[in-house]
């Protein structure tokens, strides 16, 4: 199954790591990258990805703000947060902002591929450290 992915994180090294992981899956393509929320919104408009992998804490426009804008601008786009914030509260904010997925960066190598697959099929995927939040799937 082909999935076109936009990777958004303010650290190029993190984007490279995510890209390496994602492009290991046959048919998945990282079609673009962005380093802040504003650039993410612009590139989503131009490139029309299926899934956006999005960091929370970024300059210019953070991931939560970008997510809210994207929900209005690109309703077909599914958003997966990959973030340092291992917090149920932050995760709920992310889902309230319109994201479909939320994984913690420290477990990204373990959870990312399953998360992208799930959100691309419009299923919710959430995983905090050591626990999955029941009732959200």
């Amino acid at each position: 199954m082909t999935i076109r992915i936009l990777v958004v994180d303010d650290h190029p090294v993190v984007r490279q790591g995510l890209k390496t992981l994602l492009e290991g899956r046959s048919g998945w393509e990282v079609i673009g990258e962005a380093s802040d929320g504003a650039e993410a919104v612009e590139k989503a408009r131009n490139l029309n990805p299926d899934v956006m992998v999005l960091d929370v804490t970024m300059p210019r426009m953070n991931g939560l703000e970008a997510c809210r804008v994207l929900r209005r601008q690109s309703p077909q786009l599914e958003i997966l947060f990959v973030t340092q914030h291992d917090s149920p509260q932050m995760m709920r904010e992310a889902l309230d902002a319109g994201a479909r997925g939320y994984v913690v960066k420290s477990n990204a190598a373990r959870d990312l591929l399953a998360a992208v697959e799930a959100v691309s099929q419009h299923r919710i995927f959430t995983a905090l450290n050591g626990r999955d939040i029941a009732g959200l799937h």
């Binding site: 790591g17 995510l18 929370v56």
Partner: protein, 235 residues
């Protein structure tokens, strides 16, 4: 013979990105990876890499203490520290710990290869922003570097610093004892000494101290959005 590099960062995603960056360079090889400072120590002593790249903000043993301990063990180790923060204090501590390179994570894609090349050629490397900050700081204060200038980090011993970090990370005394192969009583004694030396009354004081002194690094969450009459509902 290939230049052998050990990578230490608690995020596998970051290690993958760093590996992809470094292995594009012909003649370089990532010989090992570690996800915390203790594992970094173990692997460095076992693999004897030419260069060690350590993230400052690692659990169990942070990057600065890893650097200090590695160099105490063998001063020939060449260490580059990676950090998300660029405060004067962090820079000073990295230098005092003996790091030969200092790179901001946000600039790593641009600067890390140059840093490793510098160390390979027996030079030091500090990312341009660091150089600017250090120079600006010296010009403002009007003083020159003094080797006798003590770091801000006070009177804790190396072991006390380790225990401070582990406690600030949320480990109980029993868990700290297990991690460090000590008895719980010994850890409790260290804990009391730490609290007394720093005049702390609660674990919260300890956590604040650990953050301020870069024993742990945190990324702050974004500010809450301004209130609006009707927000979007969950998908």
């Amino acid at each position: 013979m290939k230049l052998r590099i050990l990578l230490a960062d608690d995020h596998e995603i970051v290690r993958r990105g760093l590996r992809a960056l470094l292995e594009k360079h012909e003649g370089w090889e990532v010989c090992g990876e570690a996800s915390d400072g203790r594992e970094a120590m173990e692997k460095a002593l076992q693999l004897k890499p030419d260069v060690v790249i350590v993230d400052i903000g690692m659990p169990n043993l942070n990057g600065l203490d890893t650097t200090r301990q590695l160099l105490q063990h063998d001063p020939h180790f060449k260490v580059i520290v990676l950090t998300i923060t660029d405060s004067d204090q962090v820079i000073r501590e990295a230098l005092d710990a003996g790091a030969r390179g200092f790179v901001l994570k946000s600039d790593a894609a641009r600067d890390l290869v140059s840093a490793v090349e510098a160390l390979q050629n027996k030079r030091m490397f500090f990312t341009p922003r660091v150089n600017d900050l250090v120079l600006a700081g010296f010009l403002e204060k009007g003083h020159t570097v003094s080797r006798n200038e003590a770091p801000k980090l006070p009177t804790l011993t190396a072991r006390e610093r380790e225990i401070t970090q582990l406690l600030a990370e949320g480990n109980s005394s029993k868990e700290v004892a297990c991690l460090l192969n000590l008895s719980t009583k010994t850890v409790e004694t260290h804990r009391s000494n730490i609290m007394r030396k720093l005049s702390f009354h609660s674990i919260r004081d300890l956590v604040v101290y650990a953050i301020k002194n870069n024993l742990i690094q945190i990324e702050l969450p974004p500010p809450p959005p301004p209130k609006s009459p009707a927000g979007p509902t969950a998908a």
